[in-house]
Symmetry: C2
Subunit: 457 residues, 2 copies
């Protein structure tokens, strides 16, 4: 618990009603969707940038850690306050400030839920492309801090491709703004990109200007099943290699398909060894042509079931099934570890074989779910971390999986981030001088290291 | 001139043949396409990353400024060595290291010319989207250092959207690598974006991994003329507002059109007050449909001439004319200042009126050329900077133009960068704390401030 005079200072800034420090209150902010937990000393729900600035000034003076938090859906431990201190939760800063589709941007507070941005833009015929699996719950502030991806990022890019400008409170409490409402802007360092994926270690985001896009005229969705997982992966590299870039290309293996079918009862082929959920969008005539080419490619690769969604309802059912994967897996055991590695897309078939070989070796059950078009894979292992022996196997298996991805020219994370989960593995993909370079930037702007300490930097 | 023992050290690293310090040699590296010049003490043409590293180690030890240089086509003074020291010119590091279209990347040395990247990719059916006006001369290293744009960046984004990974030599001589060959990568800070547009102030780029795209199946090009400049600008906002995002949308005013026609003799309508060169690309059927919609929109906005390129040759002629604008303007007077401001696209008509009003007020002749679809404008003023009185007017006019752009929510530069030209104007678009934040990052990684000193940070 914080000293009484610090408590009083913080309460003076944010008010008693938005300051929490009772055990049962703190518990709600002690975890995310990763396996580690830590109680903060206090939780504050700020309502304005000035409050955030004031809290940081106090925190800075007393060298108290400050960890930003959106909806807590991170799967790498990024918002877990392992050095205690203050959690700043943005549920009260959830306003959409401006929608300007003529100039293709939207200005929001960090606590706005991703899906609410989509809902606000839809009547104007626009959308915000990044669509993390958590989009119905996760916030834009969290999406930016983690540089969230999602299925349709294959065609449209990830969060950092859409952040035009930010307002940020620094550790000192100073408020800075950079970027602008302009699609093209090379005025000074590209700080907006630097903050994307910085996991709250450089400053606390209090406002964001996001680029938006016109909704495509047509969307076409295809579910394809294969009786061989290699064929499934080969179909992906074949389609991408031919120059078509679908909006999304989601690969699921047999275990994942069956877990989904257990939950959703969609009539998916339980015997299939692999499946692809492929979506293309754009001008109607272009979609029709590309869909024909895609169907040809999957058949050439031995597809056994090819089903095009005939209506928006059918499409929604297919996506609801895909999006349920994490939840249905989570029911299989007390804990579920959804990992995140990326390899160049031509290495997807090989990487899938490696994941299976590694988890088999440790006698673990693993499902493979992948945004396969950009080589981003989520091996999922249901487990029980109270079972020490099994947990050690899970940790060893993931360690081998990370090493395998790095050896194939891949990387540690495509969209989940580093957080607590993977900071030990950074040397697999970058040399010491590069890690030092990141630390220097961090130290220069947060000399007392109060911003989300104990994470990747 | 550098002290003899420093010279000897540098010559030992790079060899006598690639070390230059005679006045007539240095003169070639004293300028870019901006108006200021400064002689360096020495010019070195490194051939390897290790040479660059060695040179930086020596420079660091003796606190000698080091300025990177590609082809010197910058229009903001970025590569001008105003604090003297060493210019590192990358003409000898111009190798394409790997082309991998299956995984959609290309690895290059910094001295490779942009157009050579395009030529290397074309046989594979791929391209690298950023297409600065200087693409036939300018290098990838320079493009990255300046975060270059170009006409088709409207649809495809600018340089930082395509830099996946970099190898960089720091001021200390240490070599760091970050990013990867993976389209999705959230491992650590997004350093590749930080270096885009950093103008050589954080490190010297020695290798780059660039994202590439499949060439579109079809390209359609349209030249439209209007008898009113407002109508021209309104057509732009109307097309963009309707949800169509062309590959390019180039606006030229009467003065620019006539200057081009003087040079290229294309049969352009000399009486037209404004023109648009519009290009769309993608699947054939989609292009046909969108071209119809675009023609409808320009006619609704009072187009007087609508001419679609009937062949690749006609298309090339239209683009050659557009690309000649800078050169033909340069012939009108001893100096030509091509400026670069961006405003939100809905403000383009208003901003054009402001540019004209401001230059009229000072009695200056100004042409307006704009990548209008993303609000990026290049007012061009032919002048003679030996004529002190006129030069003062030019400087005052641009100062007012920058202010006007900032007041409209615009910014100082869309693609040319800040360099020497605009660092004094930074406070128009960012507060002191934001400028301080950039300086802290710079100081943290280049404590002796040897990297391209005297520029925006």
């Amino acid at each position: 618990m914080l000293d009484t005079h610090i408590q009083n200072e913080l309460i003076k800034i944010a008010g008693r009603a938005r300051y929490f420090d009772r055990q049962e209150e703190l518990t709600c902010y002690a975890y995310d969707a990763f396996v580690k937990e830590a109680l903060p000393d206090a939780v504050i729900l700020p309502e304005t940038t000035l409050e955030v600035s004031g809290i940081l000034k106090t925190a800075s003076r007393f060298k108290i850690p400050v960890t930003g938090r959106g909806a807590g859906t991170s799967v790498c431990g990024a918002p877990v306050p392992i050095r205690k201190g203050i959690v700043l939760c943005f549920s009260k800063m959830d306003r959409i400030i401006e929608i300007n589709t003529r100039d293709r941007y939207i200005t929001v507070q960090p606590g706005v839920i991703n899906a609410d941005v989509q809902k606000a833009l839809a009547p104007f015929g626009f959308f915000y492309p990044p669509d993390p699996g958590s989009m119905n719950t996760s916030t834009i502030g969290g999406n930016i801090a983690q540089d969230a991806g999602g299925p349709r990022c294959l065609k449209y890019g990830v969060t950092h491709d859409y952040v035009l400008g930010l307002e940020v409170c620094l550790a000192s409490g100073k408020i800075i703004r950079f970027g602008s409402k302009n699609i093209k802007d090379v005025t000074g360092y590209k700080l907006a990109s630097l903050f994307c994926g910085s996991e709250g270690t450089l400053g606390i985001i209090t406002e964001a200007i996001l680029k938006v896009r016109p909704l495509p005229e047509t969307v076409k969705t295809l579910m394809v099943t294969f009786d061989d997982l290699d064929n499934t992966a080969n179909a992906v590299t074949d389609i991408i290699g031919s120059g078509i870039i679908p909006a999304a290309m989601e690969l699921m293996d047999k275990l994942t398909l069956n877990a989904i079918e257990d939950g959703a009862n969609l009539g998916l082929d339980r015997k299939a060894k692999g499946s692809l959920l492929i979506e293309i969008d754009g001008v109607k005539e272009a979609c029709e042509k590309e869909m024909k080419q895609i169907i040809e490619k999957v058949k050439q690769n031995g597809a056994v079931g090819v089903q095009e969604a005939g209506s928006e309802l059918e499409r929604e059912k297919l996506w609801a099934a895909r999006r349920s994967a994490y939840a249905v897996f989570a029911k299989l055991a007390p804990d579920i570890i959804s990992e995140d590695v990326t390899v160049p897309v031509s290495k997807v078939p090989l990487m899938i074989r490696k994941i299976i070989a590694i988890t088999d070796k440790y006698g673990l059950k693993a499902g493979v779910l992948a945004h396969a078009g950009d080589g981003n894979m989520h091996p999922m292992i249901p487990t029980d971390r109270e079972n020490k022996e099994e947990w050690e196997k899970v940790e060893n298996a993931f360690s081998e999986i990370f090493r395998a991805a790095a050896e194939l020219g891949g990387t540690l994370s495509g969209e989940h981030g580093i957080g607590l989960a993977k900071s030990d593995y950074l040397p697999l993909v970058m040399n010491n001088d590069t890690i030092e370079f990141m630390k220097k930037i961090k130290q220069a702007v947060d000399p007392d290291l109060i911003l989300n300490p104990g994470k990747f930097v």
